[in-house]
Subunit: 227 residues, 4 copies
């Protein structure tokens, strides 16, 4: 656990067709190569159905995008925490803006993940919820203003205060919790900005997943991390 070196670049594949199935694995292999060449920590978040394929065939740390709040048993169609771990994930996103959870359930997920030795990245939308999430003692908090997600302007330019404010607020609640930032992050300059604002790296999705040339984009992001 607590396995990512920082700064880290975490790539969420969401449900993009461009990164489904074998293409998820292809991207993981590119990330593996860029990470190895640059020494920059990366992690990949495939869909549940692709976790095993990616985890068994690459050595980039694999995070689930989500797991449901349930115990083994009668949960048809649910994503069981134990199954995510069995499929090879070493961590999970929690409470992504596209899959919000109740406060009690975020707490449950963080505790369950610890029991399964999975690292948690709890997504939040502003300074107040970042502070709140930190009180649950996850591994990382990733602040992403929803209105900027999927957009063209990086949170680091559009709203730097939400990043630095989250870093401060989280530190005040629990200084061991790391802060990522995301939304609109697309290039090395954005990564650099994220680090300068005090964060431990970035969480991004379309900026990589929908790029024409994964290697080029990842290399640029990595350079931002080591400048």
């Amino acid at each position: 656990m607590n396995m990512l070196k920082t700064p880290a670049i975490v790539v969420n594949l969401k449900t993009y067709l461009e990164t489904t199935g074998k293409k998820a694995l292809e991207l993981a292999k590119v990330m593996e190569r860029v990470s190895s060449e640059t020494g920059v920590q990366m992690a990949i978040c495939p869909q549940a159905a692709d976790l095993r394929l990616v985890a068994e065939n690459s050595n980039v740390p694999v995070f689930a995008q989500h797991f449901d709040v349930l115990k083994p048993g009668a949960g048809t169609g649910m994503t069981l925490p134990e199954t995510v771990a069995d499929a090879g994930a070493c961590g999970t996103l929690v409470n992504h803006s596209e899959h919000r959870l109740t406060l009690a359930d975020i707490d449950w997920c963080v505790q369950k993940a610890k029991a399964l030795k999975l690292d948690t990245i709890v997504c939040t939308n502003n300074v107040a919820t970042s502070a709140a999430a930190a009180a649950l003692k996850p591994y990382m908090v990733a602040v992403e203003p929803p209105e900027l997600i999927g957009g063209d302007i990086s949170v680091t330019s559009a709203d730097p205060a939400v990043v630095s404010g989250s870093v401060d607020a989280v530190r005040k609640v629990d200084e061991k919790v790391l802060v990522l930032c995301g939304a609109g992050v697309k290039n090395g300059k954005d990564v650099r900005g994220a680090i300068e604002l005090g964060s431990a790296g970035v969480l991004l999705a379309s900026g990589v997943a929908k790029a024409k040339n994964w290697e080029e984009v990842l290399m640029d992001l990595a350079k931002g991390a080591v400048e």
Copy 2:
């Protein structure tokens, strides 16, 4: 706003038939009388459909049980924050264990309530979520371990540490936020225990709503508050 004197006794009518419609108003009148006689602060949380009836015909502070996260407009069947205020509520429960909200939505509700000059009581289930809720700066946090809700043993006896722990954790995050406790609270002794554990009062439901003699129970609760 911030209108309740402490210690306060907040009675949630849930969806009990025993306290629906005119019976909600009857109970409010009893609370009004007991509160007036004993000087102990009380508040009542009727169902949405009964808010106006109770608010217009009694002077016990009326809290909604919930409002939905939406703006005026296309929200068929939803409980609009503005409507709750229009119906006479001066505050609202948020995130009750029977109506959990996402972390982002709790934050939205607290902010929206402030804009509408409604006081918020955010319900939580343990020390960690109490601390998290406090980071959102509500008026009050009400900690209620779900497994004790509706039961026969008061949280103050069954799990005093969750009360005192929440009081401490909330104070550490924001000392202006008050803490109520609930679950299994039924009599004056439980209220006394709640106060001794550092809380600002109790949130209870079946202990009053389903009692044979409302006045007797309320009088006993009030005595616990002034001992």
Copy 3:
């Protein structure tokens, strides 16, 4: 039960501020007057918090916009079927596009409404779901293509086949079930069109609720119904 004469004009107030609280009652009084003058059946669907105010002070049939699937008891913040009836509703919308229910829950609501002597109007989105809803034996099915709701073009012009197709499909499943149509309905011509397509009336919202002059609009709608 089965209390509406047809053709009927059913007005859903949604959560419009223009028809919240006292303004809901004002609109009901206008509907009462127009209905009385023209002999055209009308019904009004206020928010839960306004049901009692409207039902006690007007004689337009009052329908709830929704009720939740729960039994009396522990349902903080929920809309209890029994409470809706107690507040004076004589029926309810079910499964509105802004408050969709599971198939099993629609069935539950239709059965519960019958037990409480409430008429049900089950909303659907196309011919197939209209037929499906009819199999549950509600009082009425109201077909409303979601993409036309709140828009400027009436379903009767934009997609007449979904209306006539629903009328046919519903009749084939259960000829006792009546069909309303809605989405974009704004004037008497639309009401006329709805009737000519075989429906038993219209369900509309913004066309009335947000109109500058309620009486004028309602009078025009009513004329469409009696032409």
Copy 4:
């Protein structure tokens, strides 16, 4: 599509640890063998994370337990229909009692599945909802009274009328739609009963998944199908 011979035995692995990961594949191999020896049609429904593992390494038809209602893109943590197909599923359960969908969403899933050439088994809870589901033209309807699911008494003994009633009601709506039954099904006698009540087979879960000896149970079930 329409790929199952009848009678069919469909085994839902739910989120049982006993049938997670490699154990899902082990069970599939046993089903493959029993199906081959007895000539009885079987199908298996693994968790999303196990679909590919089972589909790539066995020749039992693989059904997903569920997919979410979304298009490719921004759906973190969701189960994309296209991903389920990519992982090797040839069909999917829809609206299982542990994962109910709105009526409109069931319709969406049935249509989407057809576009992806996936067979659908829509789960229902009684005769009325079975008829309703049939109006959506799925491949199969599987009626399972929720109160009997996971229990010891087979629906075929406890409530045979819900099976025969569903068969009749579905046939009346659309005679091409097949009916399975489930809940409490555990042995060959139950399968025999299901067939005698007019159904096209059974949907079961714990009866196989939690059995000590999969082969023994499957062989017994298969014998019930061929008697």
